[in-house]
């Protein structure tokens, strides 16, 4: 594969840093200005992603006008670190892949900003919320537009920070603070993979710029490529909530719903997929790591679907579904050149229909006094007709109803999975059926049947400022697939080294023929269980089915995390700190401690006694001496 020509930015492209700078500056402005900006802060903040969107659109049109060979534009801003053989520039790369992401982030982002004006209207901290949202947009754009892994990592941490701030936005809820902390901690595990991976890249290539890495990748040994690939995958798993680092995403639903829609569905959680696709040259060298990506994706798509089946919290069902859909993208990304374009295609479609459904869920919550339990819904289609229709479009798109967006992208992925291995294909197919099942369950429990909401709850349609974004997103969910299907493969392939092949809208394949009945079966089963005439208890019925219980408990993700990470960690900290009780205050105030016996105290490191400190030092000196001597002998 020949490395792509990278042209230097001129004209409009040299302004592309504004994409990031506009929301970034406005976020800073709102945070610094404080209460002064309360009356107009949200308006200004909403204009930021819109401005970025317009710019991104102009850039996109310019790229369209260029030849295939020079669609990759590099904009060097300045030398970030330039010491010796280390040369890391702060720069952006506008190419086929990054512009698609920029468009997705700014368009969905703009709609969610508009929606949030209504959704957060009564929140006293609305300005701060919008500032964080803008911060997120800026960081996410940096993540996808960066021309090297180092700057990408900055964006990566930035979206993590914004996500952390937004999950914990309602500080008065202790669950929100815990969830925020959990997201942060789990993501640190992923970051470990990223940072070691980037260090490894620097070691291998002396550069972390995409163009250099892509050029140098061919010279890696298989082992090097596998290690690097797995490190990047670890990072991707953390950010994209893939098994085994999935547990934070469900808890993250504690954040305001627009946040769930923007960050935890449409954009940030797909960053892992972006990372894998962007690192295609590395995965091209290692069959093993690519296979692991596919396996992780497949496991997650099933695990997410399983969780989606057993939750009653509408946002958690959608979160499980997000996990599952990202699993599909990972699966596609792991397939390699044949799958990259499909992964991104599904990612874009998913961005639309999932943001649509999350915002729809927000609209429902808005109508029912922030109730998230679907057992307390029912028959809402009469009260919220617009939301119902838009949500329905999202539903049809995700289950893959013919000619809606999910139909195209998911079928391509299932097909590609069968080409890779029939096991992956069958599992992906099963996933499609289960998706249809739990989404139908969600639809029935929320919109149909008898109303089960508590007395005093009067559902009502949301204001226009919330429904218009819903309508636009619904249009996206319906038509994105039709519009992009013929085009996206050809557009993306040069940038990601892909060979997705061409497929027309009306191309029917054998696999596509199987998928549709499987989806239909899922829908029918759900209707039979939850449909007409069936009672849905307001309280969650006790269940002894291990499948249900596992699903309700997030597949015991927390328990596993606790056993593997937390317990040893806590034990360690406790063990070490036992030596640090007392301290200065202990020595002065703890007279009883002195009587309790000097001998016992001497064993502690941090007793507060100078003599024990001195003894530690001398012992340490001896230890150092011993190590020196041992080193000499060895």
């Amino acid at each position: 594969m020949t490395p792509l020509e990278v042209t230097q930015a001129t004209g409009l492209f040299s302004l592309s840093w504004l994409l990031i700078a506009i929301p970034g500056v406005i976020a800073a402005l709102l945070l610094v200005a404080g209460k002064v900006s309360n009356p107009w802060g949200h308006i200004l903040a909403t204009l930021a992603p819109i401005a970025s969107f317009v710019l991104a659109l102009l850039l996109f049109l310019q790229l369209l006008g260029r030849g295939v060979g020079d669609r990759s534009v590099n904009l060097k801003l300045y030398d970030w670190i330039a010491v010796g053989n280390w040369h890391i520039e702060a720069g952006l790369q506008i190419d086929q892949l990054s512009i698609i992401f920029a468009l997705l982030i700014t368009s969905v982002g703009s709609l969610i900003h508009i929606y949030s004006i209504g959704y957060m209207a009564h929140d006293p901290n609305r300005r701060r919320f919008f500032a964080y949202l803008n911060l997120f947009i800026a960081a996410m754009l940096l993540l996808v537009l960066a021309n090297n892994y180092f700057a990408l990592f900055v964006g990566w941490e930035g979206v993590g920070l914004a996500s952390y701030l937004l999950i914990g936005f309602w500080q008065d809820r202790p669950t929100a603070a815990t969830a925020a902390k959990k997201a942060f901690v789990v993501n640190r595990v992923g970051d470990l993979g990223m940072s070691v991976g980037i260090a490894f890249m620097l070691y291998l290539f002396g550069s972390v710029q995409f163009s250099d890495v892509n050029a140098g990748a061919a010279n890696m040994t298989f082992t090097q490529a596998t290690i690097l690939g797995l490190l990047l995958l670890l990072g991707a798993c953390g950010k994209s909530a893939q098994v085994p680092l999935q547990s934070w995403l469900l808890d993250a639903m504690e954040g305001p719903t627009p946040v769930s829609a923007l960050i935890h569905a449409a954009t940030m959680v797909t960053a892992g997929v972006y990372l894998i696709v962007r690192s295609h040259a590395i995965f091209a060298q290692t069959e093993t790591a690519a296979l692991v990506v596919s396996i992780i994706g497949t496991v997650t798509l099933l695990a997410g679907a399983w969780i989606g089946c057993s939750k009653d919290d509408i946002k958690k069902v959608l979160a499980g579904s997000t996990m599952s859909q990202i699993g599909y993208m990972m699966l596609a990304a792991g397939i390699g050149p044949a799958g990259y374009a499909f992964a991104i295609f599904h990612l874009v479609n998913h961005g639309f229909f999932k943001a649509n459904m999350f915002l729809g869920a927000g609209s429902v919550m808005h109508a029912t006094d922030d109730d998230v339990n679907m057992r307390h819904y029912g028959a809402l289609r009469k009260a919220l007709p617009i939301t119902f229709v838009t949500f329905g479009m999202g539903y049809l798109a995700i289950i893959g109803f013919p000619f809606l967006s999910g139909y195209f992208s998911k079928d391509h992925i299932v097909e590609a999975a069968f080409d890779r291995s029939w096991i992956l294909g069958v599992l992906a197919l099963i996933g499609a059926g289960v998706t249809a099942f739990y989404m139908t369950r969600l639809m029935i429990m929320t919109w149909f049947g008898r109303d089960r909401y508590a007395d005093g709850v009067h559902p009502h349609e949301s204001p226009l400022i919330m429904t218009v974004p819903l309508i636009l997103l619904a249009i996206g969910s319906v038509f994105a697939g039709l519009l992009l299907n013929d085009w996206i493969g050809g557009w993306l392939d040069p940038a990601v080294g892909g060979q997705s092949g061409h497929s027309g809208i009306f191309d029917f394949s054998l696999i596509g023929g199987i998928t549709l009945p499987v989806v239909a079966i899922g829908v029918v089963i759900a209707i039979l269980i939850f449909g007409r005439g069936r009672q849905i208890p307001v309280e969650q019925p006790a269940s002894r089915s291990p499948f249900t219980l596992a699903g309700r408990n997030d597949l015991y993700g927390d328990a596993i995390n606790e056993a593997v990470f937390m317990r040893p960690g806590i034990g360690l900290v406790e063990g070490v700190t036992k030596t640090d009780t007392g301290g200065v205050d202990g020595a002065i105030l703890g007279v009883s401690g002195i009587i309790a016996g000097v001998g016992a105290r001497l064993r502690r490191w941090q007793s507060g006694f100078v003599r024990s400190y001195a003894l530690t030092m001398i012992a340490g000196a001896f230890l150092v001496g011993i190590v020196v001597v041992l080193g000499r002998l060895a």
């Binding site: 945070l31 300045y78 970030w80 670190i81 330039a82 010491v83 010796g84 053989n85 280390w86 900055v154 941490e157 920070l161 914990g168 500080q171 008065d172 603070a177 925020a180 902390k181 942060f184 901690v185 640190r188 595990v189 970051d191 470990l192 940072s195 070691v196 260090a199 620097l202 070691y203 960690g569 900290v573 070490v576 700190t577 301290g583 200065v584 205050d585 020595a587 002065i588 490191w605 941090q606 507060g608 100078v610 024990s612 400190y613 001195a614 530690t616 030092m617 001398i618 012992a619 340490g620 000196a621 230890l623 150092v624 001496g625 190590v627 020196v628 001597v629 041992l630 080193g631 000499r632």
Partner: protein, 532 residues
């Protein structure tokens, strides 16, 4: 050295390069002038005069340092006693800057109600009538400025010393005033005096160990001169028991000053007890000077013995990072927490020290060596540290500083700006991108990797992730925790402009070092290697 001949009386007049030595001399002169001011100036003028003298000294010294550096003069001066080279210039510049910022925090008078943070009568027994009288008479002493200036002069001597005697002299000049300074806190006198005593006793012990090691090294090499020791490593064929023992003991003395485990036990107690402005001064300037000396000794004098000391440094670095990060998690007092954090950071710098990655050997001339990356890390760490301690002086409860973490709960809602700034410093400590700490971590890890210590780097990355929990905990406490119903609640008091300038410096520098680290990295890289 020319032979002494009593008859001919031809003892040469030592040739001193006063030009290159000038910054050091200026600081010493300013310190001496400070003593005179303390003795002679009328009481109302004293504080302003002390500040004037100290800042004149620092600014002039800084000016001359930069002038000399720009002139490119590098030499071993004063008959081989001092080495004025790239790292020395860099360290002097940094030391003078951070001393200046510390002095800004010393100068704070508003927080204590028109009084400094230092006791009016350090010698009085805490709680005695003598102390009470001194407080009521509104006595005030400003000896803190000359004391700190003397300490600063020692800090400048310490890393520039080219022979062991001079290094020891520097060590003592910097330590003795610090022992006193630790005992000067206006409030919590007992704690302060205890910390001074502990620091003094343990410091003396470490000095004794250092001197013993010095003697052994002299026994081996027949010289105190660092390059002479290095030469004798090459030529010697004799048994090297003296050498190994000497190296160990001298190393222990220096590791004590940088606060490496297992020679760290003084750090939490002293950091907690000392007046907070002094803690800030110690945590930055002492650490900078001590690392400078450590690097010089091990690279210049003992560079040939690398295979012997690298395993030790590796173990010490690992243990230091680990203990600093893990024990830090459980701290309930912010000053202790920052003390453990500073221990952890010493460990990260030791990663670069261990690697002993030098320029040359086929690498480009200005690539990041161990020395330059350690220098950069020290700067990045210091800007956040000095800012953090400045903030601690501002967060108060019933007039005094409130350092218990529990009393900071909900501070983010009461004083969002202060809490946000403190969070920025915490994020820099944690090594989050776009802060100086991130670039610092990267540079030491890169130097570690380049020096062939890959596994140490991997361990360091893992530990740095654990360490992030310490700082996260502080942020969570400030922003996401409700104060307990019966717990005391700390408030942010409005400080004078000097403290605000110090905090502002910390904020700007932390961000600039993260976003646009180029100039400082270049400076650190161009500081290059030690002159031998």
């Amino acid at each position: 050295m020319p032979a002494l001949s009593l008859i001919g009386m031809d003892i040469p007049t030592p040739h001193i390069e006063y030009g290159l030595l000038m910054p050091f001399l200026m600081v010493v002169v300013a310190a001496c002038l400070g003593v005179l001011v303390e003795a002679l100036a009328p009481r109302p003028l004293r504080h302003s005069l002390q500040l004037l003298v100290a800042f004149l000294g620092i600014i002039l010294a800084l000016f001359v340092t930069i002038l000399n550096w720009a002139g490119g003069d590098k030499a071993i001066i004063a008959l081989g006693a001092l080495s004025i080279d790239g790292p020395t210039y860099f360290l002097w510049t940094v030391l003078l800057v951070f001393a200046g910022v510390s002095f800004l925090i010393f100068a704070e008078r508003r927080l204590e109600g028109n009084a400094s943070a230092f006791t009016p009568s350090a010698a009085a027994v805490p709680g005695s009538t003598g102390e009470q009288e001194a407080i009521e008479a509104r006595f005030e002493h400003t000896e803190v400025y000359p004391l700190a200036m003397f300490a600063l002069s020692g800090m400048m001597l310490f890393p520039a010393a080219n022979d062991l005697i001079m290094m020891f002299v520097g060590l003592e000049i910097l330590s003795l005033p610090l022992y006193l300074l630790c005992g000067l806190a206006r409030r919590r006198r007992l704690l302060s005096q205890e910390s001074a005593m502990k620091y003094f006793l343990l410091g003396s012990l470490s000095s004794a160990i250092f001197v013993y090691g010095m003697a052994l090294l002299y026994g081996f090499a027949g010289s105190f001169d660092l390059s002479a020791i290095s030469d004798s490593l090459q030529s010697s064929t004799q048994k090297d028991g003296l050498l190994l023992a000497g190296m160990t003991l001298v190393g222990v003395g220096l590791l004590f000053k940088v606060g490496a485990v297992p020679f760290h036990s003084w750090t939490p107690d002293v950091y907690q007890g000392a007046p907070t402005p002094i803690t800030g001064f110690m945590a930055t300037c002492t650490k900078i000077a001590a690392f400078g000396a450590l690097l010089r000794l091990f690279y210049v004098a003992l560079g040939g013995l690398r295979w012997d000391w690298q395993p030790v440094m590796l173990v010490v670095a690992l243990v230091t990072m680990f203990v600093g990060s893990v024990v830090g998690i459980a701290q309930t007092d912010l000053k202790r927490l920052l003390a453990y954090s500073s221990i952890g950071h010493a460990g990260f710098i030791l990663v670069a020290v261990t690697a002993a990655s030098q320029t040359g050997n086929g690498k480009p001339a200005d690539s990041l060596s161990s020395v330059s990356s350690a220098l950069f890390y020290l700067v990045a760490y210091s800007v956040a540290t000095i800012g953090a301690f400045a903030i601690i002086t501002m967060v108060r409860l019933r007039g005094g500083e409130s350092t218990s973490l529990a009393s900071w709960a909900g501070l983010g809602r009461r004083s969002p700006v202060t809490a946000a700034v403190f969070s920025l410093f915490m994020l820099s400590f944690a090594g989050i991108p776009l802060t100086g700490g991130f670039i610092g971590k990267w540079s030491v890890f890169a130097a570690g990797w380049a020096g062939g210590q890959q596994w140490l780097v991997v361990a360091a990355v893992v530990i740095s992730l654990i360490a992030a929990v310490i700082y996260l905990r502080v942020i969570v406490t400030m922003f996401f925790t409700e104060p307990k119903a019966d717990a005391p609640v700390a408030e942010v008091a409005r400080p004078g402009w000097t403290t605000l300038v110090a905090v502002g410096f910390g904020v700007v520098a932390t961000i600039v070092l993260g976003v646009y680290p180029g100039p400082v990295l270049d400076l650190a890289a161009s500081a290059g290697e030690f002159l031998r």
